[in-house]
Symmetry: C2
Subunit: 160 residues, 2 copies
DNA sequence: CATGAAAAGCCTCACCT
DNA sequence: AGGTGAGGCTTTTCATG
């Protein structure tokens, strides 16, 4: 993962349909050279796919919320039901701490959202956070984040 | 947004690099017909882009967390600093309720994450949730979610 | 919305630096 | 590891029905 790889990732995260020719031009390399790098990134799983991004609001799902679940023993959502039963769930994360799961959900209306919360409530205690607006989502992964480590723990402390 | 549009969206969310030819074959339409539909979806903003999906772990950012911020007056993150200062933040959502903001952040290490939390702590009280694993993320937006409204509020209640 | 053809652009290979 | 050039092919986009 050198700097050229990061430039390629930046371009492809911004436009996943760039041709090797155009991509090569942007990172000042030849087409075969970028093609080989892209294939390596794909093979290593750094790039794990190419997707069209859908605007949920325009597609009829204007409501977004985060739902934290504190699952009741033996009734955890992930154990008892397939996620297919809840197409409104667009993300599931297992958490440390008091809540066992964080969900991101999308709904077509408040009534829809209310019904969803009722169904989810059968599996766990819920802590619901309705999203008012989202300044951004899906910001590209960049080398900047890896470099940004301004505050270091105190000397002698153990870290990972 | 008829059923054909949804089939197109499903295919393009799964593989954003499909050619019109291949896409046409999958939704049993001709190439010019799908091309016109895709362009309409793009023009209307239903499709708002095409992106390569990067695996954050493979790219050097294996730690994910959600951070809820209860911003101190006049020091709200979004008002006082550009988000550029925190490349670790991959999502920002404004929330209703006690917390004013939900962040999704990615870090290279625990030490990195610790530093990030310290920097963010200057802007707000934090409620941090470390992600252990994520069963899925970025599930395609589908017509199923819009159709799924099993529980309806009681008769006569006002809903939106 | 389908068909078919023409033109453009793309990928990739072999070869070389 | 990367550049060049040519070959062959797919894709796109018209025209027309």
């Amino acid at each position: 993962m050198d700097q050229t790889d990061w430039r390629i990732l930046a371009e492809l995260q911004q436009d996943g349909r760039l041709s090797f020719n155009e991509l090569a031009r942007r990172v000042t390399l030849s087409a075969p050279a970028v093609a080989e790098r892209v294939r390596r990134l794909e093979r290593d799983g750094v790039i794990d796919g190419y997707r069209a991004t859908v605007n949920p609001g325009k597609a009829g799902l204007p409501f977004t919320a985060f739902v934290q679940m504190r699952c009741m023993l033996g009734r955890c959502l992930l154990k008892t039901t397939a996620a297919d039963e809840f197409p409104e769930i667009v993300e599931i994360h297992r958490l440390s701490g008091r809540a066992c799961t964080m969900l991101k959900v999308r709904a077509a209306s408040m009534a829809h959202f209310e019904g969803l919360v009722e169904r989810l409530g059968e599996h766990a205690e819920l802590d619901t956070h309705v999203v008012l607006s989202t300044p951004f989502e899906g910001r590209p992964v960049s080398a900047d984040a890896i470099r940004a480590r301004p505050v270091t723990p105190s000397e002698g402390w153990t870290t990972s």
